[in-house]
Amino acid sequence: MEKIIEVKNLNKEFTSKIKLSGFRNSLKALFKPEYQQMKAVDNISFSVAKGEKVAFIGPNGAGKSTTIKMLTGILYPSSGEIRVDNLVPWQDRKKLAFKIGTVFGQKPQLWYHLPAMDTFYLFGKIYELDQAKFQKRLNFLIDKFQVREFVNQPVRKLSLGQRMRCEMIASLIHQPKILFLDEPTIGLDVVAKQQLREVLNLMNKEEETTIFITSHDAGDLEKIADRVIVIDRGRVIFDGTVKNFKDKYAWYKLIDLELADNHASEKLNLRGVKILAQDKLSLKLEVDIKKISVKEVIDKLLNIYQIADITIAEMPMEEIIANIYEQNLQKIK
């Protein structure tokens, strides 16, 4: 399959001035600065095929943003190779800019006080698109993303979900082959997140747009990605499909019970079920889903207890990743 992103032995080190507190030290730093090296990306390699949807996840400071900045040509590596659509990002930056779209969660592209339509036309000019083709493309996107109703209202009047859909259009106007998204769902509510994910999947399906998304959000992982790359402390510690990811690393679910009374018809003794906390009228269980299904456990619980309320929670994403890292650390040791 055609590889649209190829990363080989990528390394990135940053030099920063050591800044100690205090006035004297500030003066010293001015005249005789001391530096320290920080390795942000440590010998990573991976490749992405055309049309794939990759989630690039990891804890804060893991090197996600640095990697994506190198892929888009914003930063250049200390060593290693990158090829994006057969271009070297930091060398052919402007050429690459025409082929990629970017959505950086922290930096909106739409002009806030003007209708989104104005930004779209501006982008049409920025990407030097042919007038006729641009119009056609714009109409196509507006219909597909269902924004016609509000695309002529000032952006500040739109809801977050509507704004997000317009942001997506802006990043897709020039029909990029790859869409890079850096934490796009940050601060969005449930509905907005859903709309964004639908739209991404749509573009991928219809135009084979390769999607490369960094995120902290478990939902992004499950609802968009078909592949996951986990990075921690600058290193890749997992690279595989989402299914493999969950099978391998998400091994429990939590059940929180509120009881109507503290009467139990029998003692709870199931293989794979651990009692984490128990109170007169509440019970917290950890269910190892590799050993027993949640359905089985609930059936049993309904028999034993008088249940007032029940909450089932998945193993939190942070924990999954931390778990992966733990395993990684063990492996190193």
Partner: protein, 272 residues
């Protein structure tokens, strides 16, 4: 009557304590980035000096205008920069009051057992304002005789001058209660006040004189105090004191009217 006064005095004292604490706290926080703090202070002193330099050239060329010369210009600047420094160093959020109101930010301060307006104003310090303060002090020390009278008037004059400026900030900020987000209007008005107080506008005659006293009260805030620095005149002194107190009262009254509107919840659209 006695009980009322005692209560008033204790409230003032408590608030004074609160303001002092917050100022020290803000200053300490600023010291975390010591270099940046000193840089801002230093450059503001340079900035003010350059501004004064502009007028030095002016008076060098034209000489005194109706008895108003460069020495008088410095006196004006002692109060313009001084009051600006005092107000923005202690009440660092004064310039942001309008924005705070239109963003619904006052709500945060309602939850505390302190006067919310006072709290909002002191919760920030403007670092460069400390530079204005030092500049004003330096200008005084370098260019004016240090007599008992001049030193006392410096403090007293600074107080009333700052009171007028602070009132003006609150007044302009209060506009947000009725107009919502109005950054441009706010900046134009504040800029006008500061420009008037730092130009030799006190030489103007006729109708304009009325303008710079009662439309933009720069006259009371800087010109009269500056004149009083050189020679005492009872009538000018009374004008300054009375005007600043009345202006302050009017401002608080207008602010409270706006606050009532705000609290009635009819300003939901402003907060969006």
């Amino acid at each position: 009557m006695l009980k009322e006064s005692k209560k008033l005095i204790s409230t003032v004292a408590k608030n004074f304590d609160f303001v002092l604490f917050y100022t020290k706290y803000n200053l300490a926080s600023a010291m975390e980035f010591r270099f940046n703090f000193f840089s801002q202070v230093f450059f503001m002193i340079i900035n003010d000096t350059m501004f004064l330099l502009l007028w030095y050239f002016f008076f060098e060329h034209f000489g005194k205008l109706n008895g108003f010369g460069f020495q008088e210009m410095i006196a004006i600047w002692i109060f313009a920069a001084g009051s600006f420094g005092w107000v923005n160093a202690i009440f660092g959020n004064a310039n942001n009051l309008g924005k705070i109101i239109s963003n619904g930010g006052l709500d945060f301060y309602f939850t505390f057992p302190k006067n919310h307006l006072l709290h909002a104003l002191v919760s920030k310090t403007d670092l460069s304002a400390w530079g204005d303060l030092i500049f004003a002090l330096l200008a005084f020390v370098l260019f004016f005789p240090l007599t008992l009278y001049s030193c006392v008037w410096l403090i007293v004059g600074w107080f009333f001058s700052s009171l007028i400026l602070l009132s003006f900030y609150i007044l302009v900020g209060s506009l947000s209660f009725w107009l919502g987000r109005n950054e441009v209007l706010h900046n134009n008005l504040m800029h006008a006040f500061i420009a008037f107080s730092s130009n030799p506008s006190s030489v103007v005659q006729g109708f304009l004189k009325f303008f710079i006293f009662f439309v933009i009260p720069a006259g009371f805030a800087t010109f009269l105090p500056a004149e009083l620095l050189q020679t005492f005149a009872l009538d000018k002194f009374i004008y300054v004191v009375i005007f600043s107190i009345i202006f302050f009262i009017i401002t608080i009254f207008i602010y409270n009217r706006g606050l009532k509107k705000y609290s009635s919840g009819n300003l939901i659209n402003i907060r969006s």
